[in-house]
Subunit: 188 residues, 2 copies
């Protein structure tokens, strides 16, 4: 940590703020509990629109600086109009972003300077599950392959540590150890 503390930011991350966050949660574990929320509205056909909601972190409800609006659509071959990425592509985007930021933050805390991170992800699924032409086929991704290339100043043991930091990613964690999901449908 010596090197990191000499600098205000590492990887663009304010190291003192990061350390303060880590220490606050270490001393008061209840501060770790967070909640994120969204609302989504169907817009016709394969188009639907999400508004990202307020979120709860470090013991308080918080607002985003600006309204964050996201659209889902499907390509024409999948019967949509291709005006936005589709839900499974957003899932891969979420995964890429999460393993990247997790790596960048943990590297910053360790004083590792990252020059570039490039990540490629591909996921395979069989739409027999979605279409229910064969209910034995799983509906979700069968395989997800991730290739992450990191250029940094880490060497030796630090480099080996760097290569494992992605493992702390919340999105990756959600994909490997399922959350408890409560689904409620109201109709009128």
């Amino acid at each position: 940590m010596e090197r990191a503390l000499e600098e205000k930011t590492v990887n663009g991350v304010h190291v003192m703020d990061l350390q303060a966050t880590i220490e606050a949660v270490r001393h008061n574990p209840a501060l770790g509990q967070s909640r994120f929320q969204i609302k989504n509205r169907w817009m016709g056909r394969a188009l639907n629109r999400t508004t990202i909601g307020d979120f709860y972190v470090a013991g308080q409800m918080r607002k985003h600086k600006t309204a964050l609006i996201l659209d889902n659509d499907e390509a024409e071959v999948l019967l949509g109009e291709d005006r936005a990425a589709n839900p499974v592509e957003y899932l891969l985007h979420a995964l890429a972003g999460c393993v990247t930021t997790t790596t960048v933050y943990h590297a910053a805390a360790r004083g590792i300077h990252i020059r570039t991170i490039e990540t490629e992800i591909e996921g395979e699924l069989d739409v027999q599950g979605l279409l229910q032409t064969n209910p034995q086929v799983r509906t979700g991704f069968q395989n997800i392959r991730i290739k992450m290339k990191i250029d940094s100043d880490a060497e030796g043991e630090k480099l080996e540590e760097l290569k494992r930091l992605y493992q702390f990613s919340p999105v990756l964690g959600t994909l490997t150890r399922p959350a408890q999901i409560q689904f409620q449908v109201e109709t009128k």
Copy 2:
């Protein structure tokens, strides 16, 4: 199905195209195999940018009509600059979009006319896992609660069926039955 076939579109979905897709996959299950891919590049701090790639469906590689670019960021309290939604919010967006489109398409195939779908999702996670202040705490979401409100013309058995259609969602399937994940990190 009688009602659906009388109309060109139900819920904006071209019913003949949907039926043709379902029948094609039923008769040639290999057509179900699909692949989606993205590339992501770190832009500094918590910002990273995804380019949605070409995709493979119905036996062919396909291109999106336009370039689809997505950014991840983190709120200031999470040490970013809040220029975009964060990865766990994108995950919830993907889930909302997928259960919506899955419901809309399956309803269209059954001749159920949907007027509105509104979905609220909240997910709880404990950042002790991400920060590794307590490695016993899971990194991912603990709980995800989904409330979906559907207004449609379905009644009786059709209505009960409508309420279960979300279950065929690929994103939901990925969150309940983990994919095989291969993670490869290259460094230089």
